[in-house]
């Protein structure tokens, strides 16, 4: 808990970072002490829950303040479809990424056993590295998030 609290504070003097650290720390404690003991972590529902929680935590992390973060999360779960066209636009733009994400979200042992991944594993790793460099050089959305004191 202390580690995650400090990790949050390290990112800057904002309650959003502290809250982010506290949630992560709390969840890890619960996972280690309870979910692992009852073998809940192997359940598919748990994986979905973890992914959702991480997404919510990133919203808190990136928001300007806690109030905005809560408003953002509220909108995410409001089921208000006034701006559905924007949501569809985002879904379309990231469709292939979402698809790849859905494949890779599975446990690593299962992903490794997919034939095409086995065949292209090393080439894929080098390709991903090259793409990382390309995206880094492109300077895509890359705000400097440290030393926010």
């Amino acid at each position: 808990m202390i580690v995650w609290l400090l990790t949050g504070i390290w990112h800057g003097a904002n309650f959003t970072f502290i809250l982010w650290g506290i949630i992560y720390g709390t969840m890890i404690i619960i996972e280690k002490q309870i979910f692992e003991k009852y073998d809940i972590i192997r359940r598919k529902e748990y994986r979905v829950f973890v992914v959702l929680l991480i997404i919510i935590c990133w919203v808190i992390f990136r928001a300007e303040n806690v109030e905005l973060a809560l408003r953002f999360i509220g909108t995410m779960f409001s089921f208000n479809f006034d701006n559905a066209d924007i949501a569809i636009l985002y879904a379309k733009e990231y469709f292939i990424c979402i698809l790849v994400g859905l494949i890779l979200i599975r446990p690593i042992e299962k992903v490794q056993n997919i034939q095409i991944i086995q065949k292209c594993k090393w080439g894929g790793i080098y390709l991903m590295f090259a793409l990382d460099v390309a995206y880094m050089i492109k300077g895509t959305y890359n705000p400097f998030i440290y030393f926010n004191f």
Binding site: L89, E93, Y126, L131, A134, K138, N148
Partner: protein, 392 residues
């Protein structure tokens, strides 16, 4: 054993590439990095951001990496660039949709233009606001949910200008411009007018001046048949295209209309402090264009060839002019090629750019000192942009 070796090799390859790149970067940019490090006006965060910027701008083979990035974006069927600020339209052009401007912003813009117009009127100088030509974006060209207000904003601005009785040359209503296909109005990889559009705008401005003030300008200057077309095919990647590379954006042909009649022009470029930066005299293509940029295969943003890549205070003297008229064109970068063609009709033309970091001094003082016969204002006046027109 084999897999372990591959893992170790991969780790060392990645670390090797990262550190080699880092060392090369430090070595090749040591002076710039040092300047940032010793700059006491910047805090640690700003210094790190600046060093990162230096890396992104100077990294070896940058255009190749961006081409790769663009290729991936294309494979991922992405139509948005730069975090949903730029979009690839269905007809292939990259555009930046504009947000709706408030009534207050419009009024502020027009008030500033009015101040310049009033000043000109008192000095006996003819002043026109020249309307911008905007990319035509049909409803279906942009993805659902993204709106472009550039035409609405422009219409509101022009209504306000009309109400304030400011003389206008409305290029949007000119037939020659409306006859240009929407695909050809602008470069597809850049936000500037194409050569075809620029020349049509030049013709229309001169035609209107001929009509309004009986300006006697020989038709040879405005007749396209008196120009040859110089075309450097697939060579131009504009300011939008450079962000995503050639595989995503494609490339434009870079076209220049070169006068076939004799020209004797002197080009002078001044910096913000009024110091002479460049002086050239000769025929059109020599005096006004940076030919190195045009024919350098590695230099992608060919638009910089116009006005010798100078953009603060450019002055062109025409020693073959049929009149003694002096013109001041206040415009952003759209005006650079336009200035070149207008220079063929007048004894002297100056082009100052009010964008931030360019000519940001008092424009009324500039007009008073230069004392032109005609002032043309061609600018979109977004946000704070207009304030420099009347900075005290």
């Amino acid at each position: 054993m084999k897999i372990k070796f591959k893992k170790v090799l991969t780790v060392f390859t990645f670390i090797g590439i990262i550190y080699c790149n880092f060392i090369c970067y430090i070595a090749s940019n040591k002076d710039s990095i040092f300047q940032v490090m010793i700059d006491k006006s910047k805090d640690v965060t700003q210094k790190i951001i600046d060093i990162q910027d230096i890396y992104e701008n100077n990294c070896p083979g940058k255009s190749k990496w961006i081409d790769l990035y663009g290729l991936v974006q294309r494979i991922l069927v992405k139509n948005q660039i730069e975090e949903f600020t730029l979009f690839r339209t269905k007809y292939g052009k990259i555009i930046q949709p504009r947000e709706e401007r408030t009534e207050e912003q419009i009024v502020q813009s027009v008030d500033n233009i009015k101040k310049v117009e009033d000043f000109c009127q008192n000095e006996g100088i003819l002043c026109y606001y020249v309307t911008s030509i905007l990319p035509i974006v049909d409803e279906n060209d942009l993805p659902n949910g993204i709106n472009d207000y550039s035409h609405d904003n422009a219409q509101k601005l022009y209504n306000e200008l009309y109400d304030k009785d400011i003389p206008m040359i409305d290029l949007r209503k000119k037939e020659s411009i409306n006859n240009i296909n929407k695909e050809d109005l602008f470069y597809k990889t850049d936000h500037h007018w194409s050569m075809e559009t620029c020349f049509a705008a030049y013709q229309e401005i001169i035609n209107q001046l001929r009509k309004d003030i009986n300006l006697d300008i020989d038709t040879k200057y405005t007749n396209l048949s008196n120009y040859e077309t110089i075309k450097v095919e697939n060579s131009f990647l504009g300011s939008y295209g450079i962000k995503v590379g050639k595989y995503y954006a494609g490339k434009d042909d870079f076209i220049i209309y070169n006068p076939l009649f004799e020209t004797d022009l002197e080009f002078e470029a001044y910096d913000t402090e009024g110091n002479l930066q460049l002086q050239k005299r000769g025929y059109f293509m020599y005096a006004l264009m940076d030919n190195e940029i045009i024919y350098d295969g590695a230099y992608m943003n060919k638009y910089n060839a116009f006005s010798n890549n100078c953009y603060i205070d450019n002055r062109i003297m025409n020693y073959n002019a049929d009149n003694e008229i002096k013109v001041l064109l206040i415009s952003h970068s759209y005006g650079r090629p336009l200035t070149q063609y207008l220079s063929l009709c007048f004894a002297e033309i100056r082009n100052i750019d009010p964008q931030e970091g360019r000519y940001n001094k008092n424009y009324l003082e500039y007009i008073e000192n230069y004392n032109p016969d005609i002032v043309l204002i061609l600018a979109e006046f977004e946000g704070e942009f207009t304030n420099v027109l009347t900075t005290e």
